[in-house]
Symmetry: C2
Subunit: 227 residues, 2 copies
């Protein structure tokens, strides 16, 4: 499903070259449940953005479901993203003057879903992350963990076949974390491909495979029982 080959991502800041990804080869099959770990700055979010078709490599290639992503035009890329991928961003990226409910509906608006059906699915997704009583709050009227949960609900609402979640429990207490991990586990059990970036071992333990990154490279890649 996901085929990353010889991928490099280079930035130039002033006179300094930053190697965010420094030669990554990776295969992830449909339905795998993967955790990506590694030190702060090791390239995890950069890799996630690449896999999620939100960024392109400086060098190397990325195939998603056989499609060479760099050859897709913008509208095709946007359609692939909207239909196949749900993304929980490390910094949430919620629309500031928009209610939680409207934020969660957004992927369904892009998918041209009629309003009644859209409302219903968004309400369900918000209920699944325990925020029914906050659906009319805008992001600045929500706590950090509530914003994170709105971002999660938005990623799940159009039932994507691939869920990419970058530090999805970073702002959540352990009880709420468990509730979110239950959602992700259920998705994985239903055959979806789930890829989480996390720095917490308890969270990584839910996955069947753990990839560790350092300095823009994959330094370890192991199977594990999962939970």
């Amino acid at each position: 499903l996901i085929e990353v080959r010889g991928v490099h991502k280079l930035y130039t800041v002033g006179s300094q070259e930053v190697r965010a990804l420094d030669g990554v080869d990776l295969d992830i099959r449909r339905g795998e449940y993967v955790a990506i770990m590694g030190a702060s700055g090791s390239g995890k979010s950069t890799l996630m953005n690449l896999i999620g078709c939100l960024d392109t490599p400086t060098r190397g290639s990325y195939r998603l479901d056989g499609l060479a992503v760099e050859r897709l035009r913008d509208e095709e890329l946007a359609r692939v993203r909207n239909r196949q991928i749900g993304f929980v961003f490390q910094t949430f990226h919620l629309l500031p003057r928009t209610t939680a409910l409207a934020n969660v509906e957004l992927p369904l608006v892009y998918a041209r879903m009629p309003r009644g059906e859209r409302h219903e699915l968004a309400r369900k997704a918000i209920a699944e992350v325990g925020l029914s009583e906050r659906s009319h709050h805008t992001p600045n009227e929500l706590s950090g963990g509530q914003r994170q949960r709105v971002a999660i609900a938005r990623a799940l609402v159009n039932q994507p076949s691939i869920l990419l979640a970058d530090e999805p429990t970073g702002n959540l207490d352990s009880t709420t974390s468990d509730e979110i991990m239950e959602l992700f586990d259920r998705l994985a059990a239903a055959g979806k491909t789930v890829i989480l970036v996390t720095h917490e071992d308890d969270i990584a333990e839910h996955a069947r495979r753990v990839i560790v990154m350092r300095d823009g490279k994959v330094i370890s890649d192991r199977q594990q029982p999962g939970s």
Copy 2:
């Protein structure tokens, strides 16, 4: 040092009343090392903002070092904040088009420190959080954990007597977390007052006192050995 009495914080969203703080009484003495825990949405950040003089209660009073905070004028409040308090925000609040170094210098600019001395202290603070090689990056050229560390450096740069840190390790891997906790432990050992919001038990264990919140109230408040 910190005296919270009968504090309530109410919001109205549409027709709904939200009790972010629902009757809080709290005393924190100078030099205490405190962890605040509790479920997402329980009022931790709201309480922190109150203690940090960034917000005022709907009802009740707050004294900082004997001063009735609600009676201070804006410039006095700003001066108290700048001189006594370092605040690490849950969502960082970095200036977007400004380098890491310039972001960290900001409290010293407000304190009217001359440029050479400012640069030096800011460079030191950035080195202490392991980001010397990223000092000229702007926030969007930094990873999530790097932004968090810039926010931490900025809170420490003017050597505040009170450090308030809201989920300071939420985006950090365990090695980087340990480095940050060493900084905080050293501050506490030097007699500073340190108050952390965290949802991780390992982090809370560093403190000498753990306060747990639920639904806008303090439901437990215990001493512990610390580490």
